[in-house]
């Protein structure tokens, strides 16, 4: 048998290669955002903290207008927005800031296993400093069990930190209910809302959120800028600064403000607010189209995580009996990502997929498709055709697929792990 893996799928008109479909990793800058930023990258270079000349005033005004735009997207007030360098810093500031500030009240923090490393590793560090952290499990659909959360809260609990949407599987946690439980028990609630803000409705009041991490570059804004929402009323949340210096951002985060970045993030939030409903509807249709094509053309495929509680632009699928990195290699003009160990520096498959109770073999076969604002139907069709072609060919090459076709139960084989 002679086979060629290389694919020769025709590229439809209007599709430019490579196709970018990894919008949960980062998103391209919206041209409207760039346009808003340009003046602040060129002539308007003032330091927003310069109080005594027009360069400073101009910059400060731009920052305050962006603060308004960001606050409006999430139902906050401008004074509740603290600018940071990105969501990793926001997560660190929220969790460490609360831990330090409320140390006398308690030392217990609750999170869950599929959080981003910015949350998990921050919690791990706090454990070294004497805090106790509970990592709630998730169900097979990726959601936490609210009863687990209620049971985990003790009189020593100061903070619950649970993400709004997962970056790998796009699953939306029931944050409104989580926030409600927290408020009933007098515990602060932080959510990493990086993937959900601007994509699905997110409102800090309705969702009972006390702290929320946001990022510019996941919503078609620039990299290197993020924000932390810190509630000022009912309750008033206090955080200990983690970066000392000139006392910027009302003492919560020192450092000269990244004015062009902040302006860009503000514009990105404004666009997201205006276009979210329409965009979410369009992306769900594209996502479901992609899924339907895989399911009709291939056997042994399955979706990882809940389809019901999910970001519109996310599809995480396992193409069982095909290893993820080899699939990525075959679709090298399409930018997606894989939960396969071979694509990670640690050679460990995705901890998020493992947390769903999936076998490592299924995690190794997973691909995340992250659809975004600039993806088209023609791109979806091209990506689907290409993936289907390569999966079929790699399965001709897969001893596992052959064994399953022959009726062999792979779980009964004594594999030699290495």
């Amino acid at each position: 048998m002679s086979i060629t893996i290389e694919s020769h799928i025709e590229v439809p008109e209007g599709v430019h290669l490579p196709v970018y479909m990894d919008n949960q990793a980062t998103s391209p800058l919206d041209p409207r955002v760039l346009e808003a930023m340009m003046p602040y990258l060129t002539g308007k270079f003032g330091n927003a903290a310069s109080r005594n000349h027009s360069f400073g005033w101009e910059a400060e005004q731009a920052v305050e207008s962006a603060r308004e735009q960001i606050a409006r997207l999430i139902g906050a007030s401008a004074k509740e927005i603290v600018f940071t360098s990105g969501a990793t810093e926001s997560d660190n500031l929220a969790i460490k800031g609360v831990a330090e500030m409320y140390r006398e009240r308690g030392n217990h923090i609750i999170t869950q296993v599929t959080e981003h490393k910015a949350v998990l590793d921050t919690c791990k560090r706090l454990e070294k400093y004497g805090y106790r952290v509970t990592y709630l499990p998730v169900k097979a659909d990726g959601l936490i069990d609210l009863e687990d959360l209620e049971r985990a809260i003790t009189d020593k609990t100061i903070l619950v930190t649970i993400m709004a949407a997962n970056n790998e599987i796009g699953v939306l946690q029931p944050i409104r209910e989580i926030g409600q439980i927290c408020h009933q028990k007098g515990v602060l609630f932080h959510t990493d809302a990086v993937q959900s803000a601007g994509k699905v409705p997110f409102n800090v009041i309705a969702d009972n959120v006390d702290l929320a991490s946001l990022s510019g570059h996941k919503i078609y804004g620039p990299k290197g800028v993020g924000a932390l929402y810190v509630r000022r009323r009912n309750p008033r949340v206090q955080i200990a600064a983690q970066i000392d210096g000139g006392g910027h951002e009302r003492g919560m985060r020192s450092g000269t403000l990244n004015v062009p970045g902040i302006v860009g993030m503000g514009k990105a939030c404004q666009i997201a607010q205006t276009e979210m409903v329409e965009e979410a509807a369009r992306l769900s249709v594209l996502r479901d189209r992609l899924k339907a094509k895989f399911e009709s053309e291939l056997d042994y495929v399955h979706v990882n995580g809940s389809m019901e509680h999910r970001l519109p632009g996310n599809l995480n699928m396992s193409f069982v009996y095909v290893e993820g990195e080899s699939l990525l290699m075959g679709i090298n003009d399409v930018a997606v990502s894989s939960g396969s160990a071979c694509t990670s520096a640690t050679l460990e498959p995705s901890y998020v997929l493992k947390a769903l109770g999936l076998g490592d073999d299924v995690a190794h076969s997973s691909i995340r498709f992250g659809l975004g604002r600039f993806n088209t139907e023609a791109e979806v069709d091209y990506v689907a055709a290409k993936v289907i072609d390569i999966v079929k060919k790699l399965r001709q090459l897969s001893p596992l697929y052959e064994m399953v076709q022959d009726g062999i139960d792979l779980t009964k084989i004594e594999w030699q792990a290495h």
């Binding site: 080899s326 073999d361 594999w415």
Partner: protein
Amino acid sequence: MAYSDKVVDHYNNPRNVGTLDKASPEVGTGLVGAPECGDVMRLQIRVNPDTQIIEEAKFKTFGCGSAIASSSLATEWVKGRTVDDALAIKNTDIVKELSLPPVKIHCSVLAEDAIRAAIGDWKKKNATAEPAEAAAAAQ
């Protein structure tokens, strides 16, 4: 990760993909790796009983591009060699030929294991066959 041209070539045009009759006494099968580790290689050889030369080699691999390339290359290299000669193939030779980066060295190790397992299987089959034949001849 950037792949060497040779890895890309073996991936795009894998050599000797297929399946030999596992039950045949001339065929040795090596199945190494594990699905949960992300790579499984099956390498099969058909040995000429008179010359001990590997006349045919086939493989199927579940794994990354480097694993596919390593096993594809292994089938090319064992073909035409005697069984003992094939055992001389080292994983380091595969690493060198394919310019595998350090994180992919385990792929070459697995390919060497697959060669050894296939030959081992063939030897086992033939070691038990020979005395049986001898015994049959003696009767």
